[in-house]
């Protein structure tokens, strides 16, 4: 399961979670962006890399401190896409 943060939900048709397959974090993200190209436009660079203001958590752990996109995932795992948010003052 992939959790979609509020800031990206409109790009996923308004849904807070998306079920996509894949054996690694990278495969899941590719499947997600294929299913919802508007999300890909927000979180991927033109070269297909994840933007550095986007973090990915596998369950509650930072994926960069695991094996990043090569980290294996199972059916029960939850992937959370976490882009930086700035709002506060305005």
């Amino acid at each position: 399961m992939v959790k979609i943060p509020p800031v990206l939900r409109h790009a996923a048709g308004g849904t807070p979670t998306v079920q996509v397959g894949g054996a690694t974090i990278g495969e899941v993200l590719i499947a997600l962006c294929e299913a919802h190209p508007a999300i890909g436009a927000q979180i991927l660079t033109p070269e297909g890399e994840l933007h550095k203001f986007v973090n990915v958590y596998l369950n509650d752990e930072d994926a960069r401190l695991l094996q990043w996109v090569d980290t294996p995932v199972g059916d029960d795992d939850t992937l959370l896409i976490l882009p930086a948010m700035a709002g506060g003052r305005a």
């Binding site: 943060p5 203001f53 709002g87 506060g88």
Partner: protein, 396 residues
């Protein structure tokens, strides 16, 4: 026949041993002696007391002792002015199940006569004691903690959605000095969430407007209005005047600038951000925990970074997140509890869920890692994608 005062003292002496100042002094000097509970009245305590002693006026002894002495087997010395009230109080503790209680013979008077060290506390005024009485009752805060708050200085970046509740509660809590950085003016569309401002102050600088509200709530708080945006030229000078910074900025250039400046000045940064129904909060403790750029190494370009002005925000969300910031700022100032350092708290108001993610120090962090090139970058330009950093072409 009913017992006289002397009878009561005699009965107390049968179960309570008395200790001479000379027996107590070494532990006091080394700071490793038994807990000393001074049961005199507040006015007497304010004239001076044994170093390290805690104060519980005799009238509150039974109700407050558990907060000071959770272990009924721990060694306790009770002291008063001359050693009589302490004897009766020690007997009360004995009856409450405290098994290792003694009374200071001759009390504070004999202690002083023997020229042992005395602490004359800086005391709260009667008005302060009344205003902050609910804080003083909390063992983790107490009078000492309240005085710490009164001496503290907190800088708030923004007096808007997050800054409004955070500044209001920090002022109520008695944080002595609040700095409010905001170049913006109060607009009618702010009032759905920025509760420190009022309809009749629309058009006023937000810092000035907040100052009016704070003066009405707690005139003792010194409010410094900084009616400008933080930038590379003023941020270090600004931060050096404060103990903690509460970041409620609405844009990435300011957030990244604050993150770097907080590291440079070793200032704890209490972070929160909000959008629609979601809030993030964390505490970034320089070089002790992760920093903002351990979490998000680089800022997004403006087209991928919607603001509340574009995406909207539930007004109440600001209250929740701003008050989480105020809570964390107070904990940092008092050095109590577990802060959100190393954790990102995500609040989803629509689902009413709080999720916690681990945030670790990134060994490759461009700001706080061992090979970091920490400098105040031109994040305005970087975020706008017009230069200012080596990697700008790759991200913008």
């Amino acid at each position: 026949m009913s017992p006289s005062y002397q009878d009561l003292l005699g009965q107390a002496r049968e179960v309570i041993s008395e200790v001479e100042p000379s027996e107590v002094a070494p532990g006091v000097a080394a700071g490793n002696g038994p807990l000393i509970i001074d049961v005199r009245e507040t006015a007497e305590w304010d004239q001076g007391h044994l170093p390290g002693a805690v104060h519980i006026p005799r009238g509150f002894l039974e109700s407050r002792v558990a907060g000071m002495a959770p272990d009924r087997g721990q060694a306790i010395i009770v002291s008063c002015a001359s050693g009589q009230r302490s004897l009766l109080s020690a007997r009360t503790l004995h009856e409450m199940g405290f098994t290792n209680v003694t009374s200071l013979a001759g009390g504070f008077a004999r202690w002083k006569q023997n020229n042992y060290p005395v602490v004359v506390p800086r005391a709260l005024s009667a008005a302060q004691r009344s205003r902050y009485s609910r804080h003083i009752l909390i063992p983790e805060v107490g009078e000492e903690g309240q005085m710490k708050l009164l001496d503290s200085k907190v800088l708030l970046i923004g007096a808007g959605g997050l800054g409004s509740p955070a500044a209001y509660y920090l002022a109520a809590a008695g944080v002595g000095t609040l700095g409010l950085v905001d170049d913006d003016e109060v607009d009618e569309s702010n009032l759905q969430r920025q509760i420190i401002h009022t309809t009749d102050r629309v058009g006023m600088n937000k810092g000035e407007s907040a100052k009016v509200a704070i003066a009405a709530l707690n005139p003792e708080v010194q409010v410094n209005v900084h009616p400008f945006r933080v930038n590379r030229d003023n941020v270090l000078d600004l931060l050096s005047q404060y103990d903690v910074v509460v970041d409620g900025a609405d844009n990435f250039p300011t957030r990244y600038l604050m993150a770097d400046a907080a590291l440079m000045t070793n200032t704890p940064l209490v972070h929160a951000s909000i959008l629609r129904f979601e809030g993030h909060a964390s505490v970034f403790t320089p070089y002790d925990g992760p920093c903002y750029r351990c979490l998000f190494p680089e800022p997004p370009p403006p087209d991928l970074a919607p603001s509340c002005g574009e995406a909207g925000v539930l007004g109440v969300l600001c209250g929740v997140m701003g008050n989480i910031q105020a809570t964390e700022a107070i904990k940092v100032l008092l050095g109590i509890g577990d802060t959100l350092s190393g954790r990102l708290l995500i609040y989803d108001a629509l689902d009413m869920t709080f999720t916690e993610l681990k945030v670790r120090r990134d060994p490759d962090c461009p700001s706080c890692g061992p090979n970091a090139d920490l400098q105040l970058r031109d994040y305005e330009a970087w975020c706008a994608g017009v230069g200012g950093h080596d990697h700008v072409g790759a991200t913008a």
